[in-house]
Symmetry: C2
Subunit: 360 residues, 2 copies
């Protein structure tokens, strides 16, 4: 039984993956965190020009290694348009940076970028719209419903414009003091799996999930002794358990999914990629793990960004190629159970033959 996929979503998903259906994608849509760091580097508040120049330099030297680049409409888009190779896909974020705290100050509520829309993203040539939702399934029900409603709204907008909808969920510590503690490390696998299950429901119309790694391997038996940084940590589980967490996420994900980097170091991210892809992830959408070291090299007085460029061409490229090598084991998105292979996908309504174009 063929699986139907609407014309625009199909065409644009194809534009975001490699010829084998794997997503090797670069995220440079950071705003708040990037602005703070560049401000430190510059010794003054980062300007629009700083943000735009940093992002443009990343695109110029790293985009060629990717199958798609995620940027933002405020700082990233205008400088990217002449730099992004035509064969590399484009994703644009739709959320406002950060979040508002809920009334009980525990929950996080996301909102959309003002004066932007899926219609604008489509006109600007985006192949997908990305929404970041801070999400904790055990938050106050009003908070949960607000986030769900936002997701439904964006899903509907994407349907109207027949553009793929990529949803990113990021959980947070509700009961624990922070996300860097053994209690949160133990809770995280469940949070990621339940988020994946929730947003795989058809009512959200999500096409690709961008998920956190379902665990924190810095708290694993194998890596808890200061392998990735200088900190010794309490052991929460073994890597064999983490492999099972990844498996559960894959079972919960009713749509293809990719793994995000959440600012971890490249070594840790590569281990995450291996585990996620072994469980069925279709690749990655990676930001700071690839390029966070380069923020310190930004030079507001150098239009050529020579210091950045020196390292982007070597370390940056190597980081990216290592991620791509890891994602060789990823599952092509069209092999996900939802589709069952490229040969099983047909354009929705194509059985109408001559009438397809009129009905579309």
């Amino acid at each position: 039984m063929p699986t139907q996929l609407s014309a625009g979503k199909l065409r644009n998903l194809m534009a975001l993956c490699d010829e084998d259906g794997r997503f090797n994608m670069l995220a440079i849509d950071q705003r708040g965190s990037l602005s703070r760091r560049l401000g430190e580097v510059c010794g003054r508040k980062a300007t629009h020009a700083d943000m735009a120049a940093f992002k443009q330099t990343l695109v110029r030297y790293l985009a060629a290694y990717s199958t798609g680049v995620l940027t933002d409409p405020i700082y990233g888009y205008a400088g990217l348009a002449t730099e992004l190779p035509g064969h590399v896909g484009l994703l644009l974020c739709y959320e406002k940076t950060g979040y508002a705290a809920s009334e009980d100050e525990k929950g996080r509520i996301s909102s959309l970028l003002e004066n932007w829309s899926v219609a604008k993203a489509a006109r600007a040539g985006a192949n997908a719209v990305k929404l970041l939702l801070y999400y904790h399934p055990d938050a106050d029900p009003a908070v949960v419903e607000a986030q769900n409603a936002l997701c439904r709204r964006v899903g509907e907008e994407c349907r109207e414009h027949d553009l793929p909808f990529l949803l990113e969920t990021v959980a947070y510590a509700l009961e624990e003091p922070s996300t860097n503690c053994v209690a949160y490390a133990r809770r995280k696998p469940d949070l990621v799996a339940r988020s994946a299950a929730e947003f795989s429901k058809p009512e959200y119309q999500v096409d690709v999930l961008k998920l956190e790694f379902p665990g924190d391997i810095k708290f694993s038996h194998e890596y808890c002794n200061a392998v990735f940084d200088d900190e010794d940590r309490e052991e929460a589980y073994r890597l064999s358990d983490v492999a099972e967490f990844c498996q559960r996420v894959d079972e919960c994900a009713g749509v293809p999914w990719v793994i995000l980097s959440a600012g971890v170091d490249i070594k840790e991210f590569l281990a995450n990629v291996d585990l996620a892809c072994a469980a069925g992830a279709s690749g990655f959408l990676c930001g700071r793990a690839i390029w966070k070291e380069f923020m310190a090299l930004y030079d507001p007085d150098d239009a050529e960004q020579t210091r950045m460029v020196d390292f982007l061409g070597t370390e940056g490229a190597i980081n990216f190629l290592k991620c791509n090598a890891g994602a060789e084991a990823a599952q092509p998105w069209w092999e996900h159970d939802r589709f069952g292979g490229l040969e099983n996908i047909v354009v929705a309504g194509a059985d109408a033959g001559e009438a397809w174009h009129a009905d579309y």
Copy 2:
């Protein structure tokens, strides 16, 4: 002085060319002529399934050699969506096949595909909209104005959706008995140049012109003695004159232009590509010159189209690679005088900085 180009047009033009800004594009949007030929081959009227299968087979085996594929929404699109590699651009035609004769029966009036629109093409993931206009600048003024008005309308629709507009003009014999005579061969250079000049006016909002070759080299001194077919012809000019005709077209074209094949044989088309690219064309959008021999191999009883496939993988690929080799000499579209180099192009409104996304 930087040249502004709107965000969506820029992004989508990039998606249609190679990394050097050259268009090596395949046209399979033929309808009327293809239906007639497949009907002959099948010994009965060609069906929607015949047309769709033929086009899908072409995409499957030839698209990988192209930077963009032009198809039609009726027969071509649905079967192409799973076949077209994501890194290859997509163009969709917007005109109804053929034309209506004007009241004096001399002029040709084009019309748009019913139940289709630029909005639909944008939603379906097209990177450009193509309009074919039959055009003779000396036709009855009412005919000329009808064609001009249609072009303005499509230009405006493309502006609304910020999608590149590719206009194809095809002239016809008004005073001559046919297009295959020395009188028409002599007139053609002027027709092509004047069409290029007309539709380069800003009021039409054309981004790329798809032009006929400005001459008929079968009537040239060098090729008139049955070089391309078995017919001896009267000499109309020398190839050095034809090179000048191409130069004049390039001077008239206020936007980047590509050359079309109009069903000539591959050898003649390759000579056309050389001459056009030497004068400043940015590549080709070629249909039957590459694949017309394969129509005779279509087999309605073979789902695999083995006979076609055997030749597509050899002759078809070779034809395409020869065209690509010829287009190595093409002018990158961004080097056209309109732009003056990629480094000179900026996203329209980008000087507004932070406000770009709100104003867009």
